[in-house]
């Protein structure tokens, strides 16, 4: 478990980093290192170059926009986001999810951008971004582009970031007043990647009924999955028990991933159980 030989680069500006990525063949950006370092040591990845982003100050930080939305730099540490009162205000779902991201020690180093780009199918932060309709900013040689998070995952552990591009930040809309949220996951141990994770947002309309519902599942597909059908079934309801039951019924048609350790039926079952619980919690929190 010694990393293969690679050349190390430590740019101090984004422009410099992009220039390096354009110039170098087979390069990997290094964010907080909580996934890449073990992958290097296990030789799951064998880059010729590692471009360390940790000295690029402009990639870190949290900003609140006039409309209350958040701009979060890709290199912002997970722990800094978790402890930020402004994030708790604008996106309580993210704070609730962060408590289950790895362990405090890994969150001290791990970054939000690193997690989004690693894109483990069961990771919490991509799931939150899917649920809140975040917009991601990607920088490349031709400048920056913005895409909705829904277009960010291209497949299993594959973000829409080209080899000469970097994720630089994300835009998180502010939670509307009265929004009910819940993030639940099931892992056999605290801190593990979830077997299944669920994020739910319920936005009340003027009549107190659900104006907009967001239901997202992690650990079920190759990337976070929005349950559009369940969302439609919840819209316009007061999240009564039978509305929840109708939403849950949609999980029966899920065709989850299966691996040697976790059978598909168990993931499907957990999706239903956790979604039921999450909807119950979010209903209580909706005001």
């Amino acid at each position: 478990m010694k990393a293969p030989a690679f050349e190390y680069h430590d740019p101090t500006t984004l422009a410099e980093a992009i220039a390096l990525l354009c110039r170098l063949e087979n390069a990997r950006p290094l964010a907080g290192g909580q996934s890449l370092m073990p992958m290097l040591n296990m030789r799951f990845v064998q880059p010729d170059h590692v471009v360390d982003l940790n000295r690029i100050a402009e990639l870190s930080g949290i900003r609140v926009l006039p409309d209350g939305a958040l701009e979060i730099g890709a290199m912002t540490r997970q722990r800094d986001i978790e402890r930020d009162a402004r994030v708790a205000q604008a996106c309580p779902l993210m704070v609730e999810a962060l408590a289950q991201v790895g362990h405090r020690q890994t969150r001290n180093r791990g970054t939000i951008g690193g997690s989004l780009c690693h894109m483990d199918p069961a990771a919490e932060l991509p799931l939150v971004c899917a649920a809140v309709d975040a917009v991601v900013r990607i920088a490349g040689p031709g400048g920056e582009r913005e895409i909705p998070f829904a277009e960010f995952p291209l497949g299993y552990m594959t973000p829409a970031v080209g080899p000469d591009e970097l994720l630089v930040g994300l835009h998180v809309p502010a939670a509307p007043k009265g929004q009910g949220h819940a993030f639940l996951e099931f892992a056999r141990r605290h801190g593990d990647f979830a077997i299944v994770a669920v994020a739910v947002l319920l936005d009340p309309g003027p009549d107190g009924r659900v104006a907009r519902a967001s239901v997202a599942l992690g650990g079920v597909g190759p990337a976070p999955l929005r349950l559009a059908e369940a969302e439609a079934l919840l819209r316009g309801t007061a999240v009564e028990d039978d509305a929840i039951a109708r939403a849950l019924a949609t999980t029966a048609s899920l065709d989850p991933m299966e691996d040697a350790l976790v059978p598909g039926w168990y993931r499907r079952h957990l999706a239903g159980v956790l979604l039921g619980r999450a909807l119950g919690i979010a209903r209580e929190r909706m005001a």
């Binding site: 478990m1 056999r188 141990r189 040697a260 079952h269």
Partner: protein, 766 residues
């Protein structure tokens, strides 16, 4: 007040807390090179060829070997079995002709640094021709080689009229039970650093643990050297648990390389290697039957089991199967018994002992059986155990059985008393009522118990040399080893109490073959019993010598003297004339008049303690669990370990042992398992897949240490404390989960997986 029995601070901690410890990876020598092992990637295959030449071309690579290069080194022998005929199943240090498990060493690289060695290892060409993998020890044996099959032996033990008992039984209870494959996974992986001192013609091995003297003798023998020209050294050890410190292929390979290449050779196991290369343990399937009378008393037990030894037989021989047969019966009176242990090889990592070997497995099996007997006879689960206990009046209680080569004679114990104390401390009756209320409200909660007898203090002999120097400092040289459990502190306390000094004045030297000729290391909960007793005797003998000498110096009768805090003084006038132990030592220095009356000069004694039988501590585990009916997750809400250790030298250390041991038992009960796919590829090769419990998984744990049954077999009454925290965790948690499910006996295997719990809940509802 004597320091014996006090929860004093550990002597070991200062360097550990300052980061000044010396674990294997901390050890470096000038000019050292690094070894990397190339491991088999198939579970079972014909080894067609190994070509190391591409690796040799890489700059920085010094040597690369496959089996042909080490053909003169015999396979690794046994140290712990009396079963004959196992030799053909020993592991060669590099695979010969066949590979038999994923992770088996096939070749080795020696290079200037560890990364280059790993680069080079990737270049070795290993040609394999896959053969079918055997993965189920309960399936029909297949061919091991041309003349042998995969069942090297059947361990048989029996006594009493078994057939008659089953014929006359009121009921027969039969269960099919399985324990999953898991093992000790210490924080520190293995490591070995060999150095050949050509000037002195001495081969040194550093980073060792557990069994320095036996390993020294065998390394010497296998490499054709005199034992006195090989020395093993122990630094700090980051956990042993049975798996560290056995003699493995890598230990011999670094020694051989140091001799051949004339440079120090360092090997540090990485975690991924550890999970496929270091001993596995535990996997066993039992088909057990009990003949029971109308009152729920056991008449006979028939224990047929299948032990999954993995691909080779390692240093322990058939020991775990032997203990699974010989120690199964625990605290119960069983008039007739038969054990048939099918000791079988499969294509998995070889197995051996892990903390409470054969007993974690046996307690799960026996206590599941007791629960089933209670259910069948309509008895309370606690009551059925009480009815079958060996009574305190029957002690010592000889079973017509042997285990570890010694007759099983339970030396002392009041099992019913400890059960009463544990139930009271746990609040069992109140919890029974509370559980009933919560169930009525729709929760799935349950209580479970496991009662067990441990074993400790395996003989036959241990010696120490205890010396006071001219400054009054005490040195205790022992052949015991430390795997981090507090050996120095416990032995220092015993020495200090017997001699009459501050325990912090005692330096304990352990795990070194160059300081003491014989030793048995640290295993089988034996150090405090065996080395502790030898230390106690040495301390008393040293005190007697000091008083005898001081009597001459002070012109005072010996029996008027006492030793307090390192000072020899009169009992009746403590403020009067006195001498320090340092002064006594100086009076016995070579050349002094007083020293000439003695065989050896100095204030020093060597003392040996011998024991033919083991001391048997015993315990009770009690668990309360709640099941998440949606996810199947088992939450342990409360847990108690009650353990009688005879006498506790340091109760804090005993509790520490129990808490750590419990965490490992919890792993085996709910989390940890080495899994394989159908071709024998290991699926649990990182800590993301092999789930060690963390502090977040630890439930509230209560520990009740009692001292009601001191061992009559040693002068200080102690019994080993190392394994009782682990022993019955699987048993008690299985019992509690089953109770939460309605007591149907559905829990028949460990670890208990959430999806199994869901299935049980569905079955119960159907």
């Amino acid at each position: 007040m004597s320091v014996f029995g006090q929860s004093v601070m550990r002597l070991e901690d200062a360097p550990l807390l300052r980061g000044e410890g010396a674990f294997a990876a901390d050890i470096d020598f000038p000019r050292q090179i690094h070894m990397r092992v190339v491991r088999a990637e198939m579970a079972h295959a014909r080894l067609v060829s190994v070509d190391v030449t591409p690796a040799l071309d890489l700059p920085g690579v010094i040597a690369a070997w496959s089996a042909a290069d080490v053909a003169e080194v015999p396979p690794i022998p046994f140290r712990a079995t009396k079963v004959r005929g196992l030799e053909p199943y020993c592991q060669p240090i590099l695979a010969q002709g066949r590979v038999r498990y994923v992770g088996e060493p096939v070749a080795v690289i020696f290079a200037e640094d560890a990364a280059v060695a790993e680069d080079a290892a990737d270049l070795v060409l290993v040609e394999l021709e896959e053969l079918p993998a055997l993965l189920d020890a309960a399936a029909e044996p297949t061919d091991f080689d041309a003349t042998r099959n995969t069942e090297p032996t059947i361990v048989r033990k029996s006594y009493g009229e078994l057939d008659a008992a089953f014929r006359d039984a009121h009921v027969v209870v039969a269960l099919d039970l399985a324990i999953g494959r898991h093992s000790g996974v210490p924080m520190e992986t293995r490591g070995a650093i060999a150095r050949y001192d050509a000037a002195q013609d001495v081969l040194e091995l550093h980073g060792t643990a557990k069994k320095q003297h036996w390993n020294r003798d065998e390394i010497a023998r296998l490499l054709g050297r005199a034992p006195s020209s090989v020395h093993l050294f122990e630094g700090h050890v980051g956990g042993g648990f049975g798996v560290r410190g056995e003699l493995y292929p890598e230990d011999l390979l670094v020694c051989l390389a140091a001799l051949r290449l004339r440079r120090p050779v360092k090997w540090i196991e990485d975690r991924r290697e550890h999970l496929v290369a270091t001993n596995h343990s535990r996997e066993q399937r039992h088909r057990i039957r009990a003949a029971v009378d109308a009152e729920g008393r056991i008449l006979a037990i028939d224990n047929v089991f299948f032990h999954d030894q993995g691909a080779y037989i390692r240093t322990h021989g058939a020991r775990v199967a032997d203990m699974s047969a010989g120690l199964l019966l625990g605290p119960y009176r069983v008039p007739a018994y038969r054990a048939t242990g099918h000791f079988r090889l499969t294509n998995k990592t070889p197995a051996a002992t892990y903390r409470s070997p054969g007993r974690f497995e046996g307690s799960f099996v026996r206590e599941r059986l007791m629960d089933a007997i209670a259910a069948r006879c309509g008895l309370d689960r606690v009551e059925v155990r009480r009815r079958n206990f060996v009574d305190v009046s029957e002690m010592p209680y000889a079973r017509p059985l042997d285990a570890l080569g010694t007759d099983v004679v339970l030396d002392s114990g009041d099992y019913a008393l400890l059960l009463d104390k544990a139930l009271a401390r746990f609040g069992w009756d109140a919890r029974v009522a509370d559980v009933a209320r919560r169930r009525a409200a729709g929760e799935s909660v349950g209580l479970g118990l496991g009662v067990f007898v441990e074993k400790s203090g395996l003989g036959p002999s241990d010696g120490v040399r205890m010396t006071v120097d001219a400054t009054g400092a005490v040195e205790l040289v022992t052949g015991a080893a430390s795997v981090g459990q507090g050996v120095e502190t416990a032995l220092a306390q015993i020495a200090a109490a017997a001699l009459g000094v501050d325990y912090r004045r005692v330096r304990v030297v352990r795990g070194r073959t160059d300081r003491i000729e014989f030793g048995s290391g640290a295993h089988a909960s034996r150090v405090t019993v065996m080395s502790g007793s030898a230390t106690h005797q040495a301390g008393l003998a040293l005190a007697a010598l000091a008083k005898q000498t001081a009597a001459a110096l002070l012109q005072t009768p010996e029996d008027a003297l006492e030793i307090v805090d390192g000072v020899v003084r009169r009992v009746d006038t403590p403020e009067g004339a006195s001498v320090t132990l340092g002064e006594v030592a100086r009076a016995l220095a070579p050349g002094t008049k007083l020293s000439r009356d003695r065989a050896t000069p100095g204030l020093t004694v060597e003392s040996w303690f011998h024991s033919d039988h083991m001391a048997y501590p015993y315990g009770v585990h009690l668990a309360q669990v709640a099941l998440d009916r949606g996810t199947g997750q088992v939450k342990v809400e409360h847990y108690l370990v009650g353990y009688d250790v005879g006498r506790a030298v340091n109760p804090m250390l005993v509790e520490g042992q129990i808490a750590g041991g419990f965490a490992q038992g919890l792993g085996g009960a709910l989390y940890e398992e080495f899994r394989y796919d159908e071709r024998g590829q290991p699926l649990s090769t990182t800590f993301a897949d092999y789930l060690m419990p963390t502090i977040a998984e630890m439930p509230p744990l209560d520990i009740l240490v009692t001292e009601d049954a001191p061992s009559p077999l040693n002068p200080i009454g102690v019994k080993g404390a190392g394994e009782g925290g682990t022993n019955a965790v699987g048993a008690a948690i299985a019992s509690a989960v089953d109770d939460a499910l309605g007591g149907r006996g559905q829990v028949t295997q460990l670890p208990i997986m959430p999806r199994d719990v869901l299935r049980f809940l569905a079955e119960g509802a159907a």
